[in-house]
């Protein structure tokens, strides 16, 4: 059974169709890259998976459980949506770190708030908080930021901020980690450090969906690639095959612009 099964997702804003009949599935431990030009619906698709947008049609299943069904309002209740979001993590293009918290606090805030909902939180408060804090510190270490945990976001470079954001998303142990153009807001010399982290996550078999413009990276890191154009999936397949030997003319046209890069 695939860990993620997306069935016939449609999304329109007014009369504009942003997503049309999007279906795909993803196996546990696989990385999927979504490529395509700006405005092709890639970001909207990620936002639908993270319940920041509500699709007009379709279903989203994780581990066989229907998290979202456009025809079933019971799956769209506010309180449950909050829990369902935890199946997914999202790393934003613009990081969106919380400026008033240190790197470590950014990573531990959400786990702390969730821990407060545990029945034994009051009794084991100190123990739980220490555990969350050491897990957060370990995550920052994995991101190569062990010595930056006490820094505030404005004291960090863009690449460091994005790595904190990745640690923050990982802290909740999502089933599927989504990246929305994680390096697009970075200076070219800083993209490498972020891509390296994502690459190592792929090697550790983290299930991921990565919206990216880095074709070489998508080819090397992703197992599958989806090429989207004006809201539809034009081509979908094994990464190397789609990027090096695309079947569709539109995919070829799109990729030719990246040739040599």
């Amino acid at each position: 059974m695939p860990i993620l099964d997306v069935q016939h997702i449609e999304k329109h804003f007014g009369d504009t169709r942003v997503l049309e009949d999007i279906s795909f599935s993803l196996e546990q431990g696989q990385a999927m890259a979504i490529i395509g030009s700006s405005g092709s619906g890639k970001t909207t698709l990620l936002r639908c998976l993270n319940f920041l947008e509500t699709p007009n049609q379709g279903k989203i299943l994780v581990n066989g459980e229907t998290l979202f069904d456009a025809d079933d309002p019971a799956t769209q209740r506010e309180a449950e949506v909050r829990k369902k979001r935890l199946h997914f993590g999202l790393v934003f293009q613009s990081f969106n770190l919380f400026p008033q918290y240190t790197a470590l606090e950014n990573v531990t805030l959400a786990p702390q708030l969730l821990a407060q909902e545990q029945p034994d939180f009051k009794a084991r408060r100190r123990e739980i908080l220490e555990e969350i804090s050491s897990q957060g510190q370990a995550l920052l270490e994995r991101m190569g930021l062990a010595d930056r945990s006490g820094h505030y976001p404005h004291q960090l470079s863009g690449g460091q901020q994005q790595r904190v954001a990745i640690a923050r998303a990982l802290a909740l142990k999502p089933d599927i980690l989504c990246f929305d153009e994680p390096t697009s807001a970075l200076d070219p010399e800083l993209t490498g450090e972020v891509l390296k982290v994502i690459r190592s996550l792929a090697e550790q078999k983290t299930t991921m969906i990565i919206v990216t413009h880095e074709m070489a990276f998508a080819r090397d890191v992703a197992d599958q690639v989806i090429f989207m154009d004006s809201g539809i999936i034009v081509e979908q397949g094994e990464a190397r095959q789609v990027i090096e030997h695309p079947r569709e003319e539109r995919t070829r046209q799109f990729l030719s612009r990246y040739a040599g890069s």
Partner: protein, 212 residues
């Protein structure tokens, strides 16, 4: 002479500061509620709230003081509110409307991405407001709030129109005795209070300087 005038004016200053403090105490929370109303997704509520804010901000505070104090008696034959109470009521309503606009600006100035980051991390709307947005809003509104606080200290002088014995009223009372300088002397008291406020706001702004 200077001492006895100073003591009399201090008596007036106490009334001034009481009005100042009570206005803040009630107008700050009320302003926050009004700002939520003016950002509400419910169109009729938003329209009503924004109309009230327009009326209150669009008419002179002095006129509002007169309406609140004399209005109920003249129009509905109701007993007059005590003078000081009428002053507090008017100031709370008036300042809550100004504060609401500052809050609205501060809240809407926080990037939407902050809220979305909170949502994807499984936070409730409440947690996002208190743990993520609020401090960023406070940081944004400190400078305009400093302005409003200082304006409020001086606006309290308007309540002498309904004979609340605040500091200007006290200063003016010496004119009958042929002395004009006590009225001018009140400026020193305003300057001291606003000097302290300026220092406090400067300190607070610095306190929040640790993040951007």
């Amino acid at each position: 002479m200077l001492l006895s005038v100073s003591l009399t004016l201090l008596e007036g200053l106490v009334v001034t500061l009481q009005l100042f403090a009570l206005t803040l105490l009630f107008a700050l929370p009320l302003g926050l509620i009004i700002s939520f109303g003016s950002m509400s997704r419910c169109t009729p509520l938003r329209a009503v709230v924004r109309t009230i804010v327009w009326v209150i901000r669009g008419t002179p505070l002095m006129l509002q003081i007169l309406v609140v104090f004399y209005g109920p008696g003249l129009m509905f034959d109701l007993p007059l509110l005590p003078r000081f109470t009428a002053a507090v009521v008017t100031f709370v309503i008036n300042y809550a409307c100004y504060f609401s606009e500052i809050f609205r600006g501060g809240i809407q100035g926080v990037p939407l991405g902050q809220q979305e980051a909170g949502l994807v991390l499984g936070m409730t709307k409440r947690q996002i407001f208190f743990k993520v947005t609020l401090l960023q809003v406070i940081k944004r509104i400190v400078p305009p709030m400093g302005n409003e606080f200082i304006t409020l200290v001086k606006d309290t002088a308007l309540v002498r129109t309904i004979s609340v014995y605040e500091i200007i009223w006290m200063g003016e009372s010496y004119i009958k005795k042929g002395m004009i300088w006590p009225l001018f002397y009140t400026a020193v008291f305003y300057l001291v209070v606003n000097g302290i406020l300026t220092l406090l706001f400067g300190w607070f702004e610095k306190k929040l300087d640790y993040f951007k």
